[in-house]
Amino acid sequence: MENPAIKKTELNQIHRQLGARMVDFAGWDMPVQYAGPLQEHMAVRTRAGIFDVSHMGELEIKGPNGLQTLQKLTCNDINRLAISQCQYSALTTPKGTFVDDLLIYRLASDHFLLCVNASNQDKDYQWIRENALPNTEVIFRSDDFSQLAVQGPKALEILRPLTGINLAEMKYYWFARGRFAGVDAIVSRTGYTGEDGFEIYCAPDKTEGVWTQIMESGRSFGLEPAGLAARNTLRLEAKLMLYGNDIDETTTVLEADLGWICKLQKGNFIGRDELIKQRDSGVSRLLVGFEMIDRGIARDHYPVELNGQKVGIVTSGSPAPFLKKNIGLTYLPISSKNMGTEINVLIREKTVKAKVVPTPFYRRVPSV
């Protein structure tokens, strides 16, 4: 039964024509797969894939106190963010846990665009408004942007002919505003796959044209449309966080092993006191990666045991199509975080052996 309240991106018909299987994801009717997640995953690792990620939320922050508001609300340091640069960060609760994780684009000295999780966008908007300093404008912009992600070693060659923006010179986690495929766009060298690639924001009514031009340019490079299933396995191989699974309002930034986005010395921000305490006393648990030793696939939420005691759950677990292993993430007591520690995953009442391994599971070899 079709849910009448479900939201559709501008590309809904195109996905259906391409034979995508559609699912309800955070209230959006989204393509979970086209040719199949294995093929799509390998296309991104070896050539390129294109994802419709228009469900992602966008919030705009501006005004004289815009920067200070973000300094107060997020744990990374906005003063280290140049104009035209992107920063991965988190909106933190007073406990140092996650309201959300997000990408911050600095458009001008006191003007920012935030890309947030679809499932959290309303909560984030409320949270930011409630906690913003005076003289800060917070604008809900999700309805004004579509977003496409083109990811993979061929992404640059595919997109370069479509824009005057110098994509080749663009560094990882930087962006530019300009014309792309004949429309106004923001193009950033970012992504959620562990691969080189770009994300393109444009007006929703321009999305179809942009998608079509990218698909045409990508044809000779083996570009393939890719769905949420491949997006999930790609991001897990690269150990990128999924809100609601790996991080949420019960896990702190330090427990999630994201100390690198946690700039405790930058000055006060929401959650800083708790995070300093946790840093000083040491976290009691840590998000670690594991791979299965025995046959079996660890799935999200399966119980995890250490020496016969239940210690947590698999926060994300899946086959890793490129690595050809079965991998996952789980929070382990800090005393057990060391590489090689053996754990058991409970798979349909069977205990199946796994071991802690270094992360990210997959790291691309830079081409330059």
């Binding site: 979970v32 199949g36 997640p37 294995l38 396995t233 046959r295 079996g296 696939i297 199509p321």
Partner: protein, 129 residues
């Protein structure tokens, strides 16, 4: 598409019975719904199952699907090739990718299953609902 000698369950298993031995696998419809199969969990020879009890599972990148024993029996052979080559389930669900052979405990239970024609009608209803 659906071999007429087989019987089918509403859980999308097929069974071919010869001399009180049933060969069991999942149907083409089931493999298509599941997508690329990456893992197969099989029982061991000697395990016994009642009708509709899970005997193993088939997993795609995205999902786990339990395989139910369409009728009760004792496992006498398993297709261990599937552990190395789970993709056979997608390529040849009704032939190469048989999963187990069982000795039937109660052949009367076969009456509960669908013929090829009935099964095809059943999956058409499933797809249109």
């Amino acid at each position: 598409m659906y071999p007429e000698d087989n019987l089918y369950s509403k859980d999308h298993e097929w069974i071919l019975v010869q001399d009180n031995v049933g060969t069991i696998g999942i149907t083409d419809y089931a493999q298509h719904e599941l997508g690329d199969v990456v893992y197969v969990d099989l029982p061991e020879v000697g395990d016994t199952f009642d009708a509709n009890e899970p005997l193993g599972s088939v997993e795609s990148v995205k999902a786990v699907s339990e395989v139910f024993c369409p009728v009760g029996g004792e496992v006498i052979e398993v297709n261990s090739k599937l552990e190395e080559s789970p993709e056979l389930i997608n390529e040849s669900p009704h032939q190469k990718a048989w999963m187990v052979k069982i000795r039937l405990m109660n052949p009367e239970e076969l009456k509960e299953l669908l013929s090829a024609e009935e099964y095809e009608e059943y999956i058409q209803e499933q797809s249109s609902s």
